[in-house]
Amino acid sequence: MKGLLLVGGKSSRMGTDKSEMIFRDGLTQRERGTQLLESVCDEVFISVAEGSGENIIPDAFGNIGPLGAIASAQKHSPDATWLILACDLPLIEQNHLADLASAHSPDIKASYYNSATDGLPEPLCAIWSPSSALAVTAAIISKQRCPRSVLGKITGRGLEAPGLWTLANTNTEADAIEIRARIDGSITEKTVTVSYFAQLRELTGTSSENIRTESTTPAGLFEEIRAKHSISLKRKGMMVAINGDFTDWTHPLKDGEEIVFIPPVAGG
């Protein structure tokens, strides 16, 4: 099996190159991801948007995101089984990759974890067999660039996610805060009140609930709530209010606070 570390993302929400961020052991995410892949793969490659060099695979399908990176690897070595890993998953451990590898067999098109939040396949910590290449290419040709929906269409093996946070990525500053709290063990329990309006009231089936949470920020709390109530609505584009006024997603949650999540508004 070959390993492919994805470092070519634009990191636009984080605003800094996620592959160069350091979360653990003094290693950049690029260095740590490479080490993790080396522990379970025969050979490790780095996927970049542009560039060349030893064990570098540049995007061969233009700037179309991770599905293009997967297709580029499959083009590079069509007979290889690829373990694809995004560089922005600091809580991934060697055993999670080993578990994927042992669950996989050549007759399966792909093996992956199902998200603990919404149950959908996680494509960027997954094994893609050569037999998945047809579906990957077909999606690119039809301009469907979501690797998750490609996995949804092919017959693969979905494993239960090892935990709510294991596959969390560092898309935003708030994600990074939650992840660091889990790495340094600084999480504390608190009880907060969450009120729901409109769509979220319908999705949760309640207008208010008290929640005992280990989250550090409202962003983490929202992920917990998504998992608890099986909500597919995502945080992107949403706002959050605490104690009656807008606040930032990085706000440190405190015991007794009243939280309202605000999906895109539509007054007027």
Binding site: F197, A198, P263, P264, V265, G267
Partner: protein
């Protein structure tokens, strides 16, 4: 002053509230419940607000825009609850010494209200289905507070 109301909006009353002898211009806007949206036949609309923050944010918007546009007085009412076709969903009344300020402020107020005030709209269609409408602005902008 921004208010939520679950009662029929009276735009004439709103107009009277901004009357002032130093005003030479008055502008108003009404948003009505329309019977179609993106090619679908709409039967009715349902508005739901996060009341405390909707009124706080609505008032912040009015204050800010009044200061920016040389406005004498501005009022806005937004409906909540289930509205039928043709009903007024929102009414804005603005008075100013001169017309440019009144027109511009009225436009700025409705645009900003649609953008950040926590009010949501559910469209009920004639075929019996319904959805919470997504604001088109939100995906394109990063809300910052």
């Amino acid at each position: 002053m921004f208010q939520l109301t679950d009662q029929t909006i009276d735009p004439r009353a709103l107009c009277d509230e901004v009357r002032d002898h130093t005003a030479g211009g008055f502008a108003s806007f009404e948003g009505w419940v329309r019977n179609h949206h993106q090619g679908r036949d709409v039967a009715s609309l349902e508005y739901e607000a996060f009341p405390a923050l909707a009124e706080k944010e609505g008032n912040r918007i009015l204050e800010k825009i009044c200061a920016e546009h040389d406005i004498l007085m501005a009022r806005c009412q937004h409906r909540t609850g289930h509205l039928q076709i043709g009903e007024i969903a929102i009414a804005i009344a603005v008075s100013a010494a001169h017309r440019d300020a009144a027109f511009n402020a009225c436009r700025a107020i409705i645009d900003q209200i649609k953008f950040t005030v926590p009010i949501w709209k559910k469209e009920h269609y004639t075929d019996g289905t319904s959805i919470w409408v997504k604001c088109h602005n939100c995906a394109a902008h990063n809300h910052a507070h």
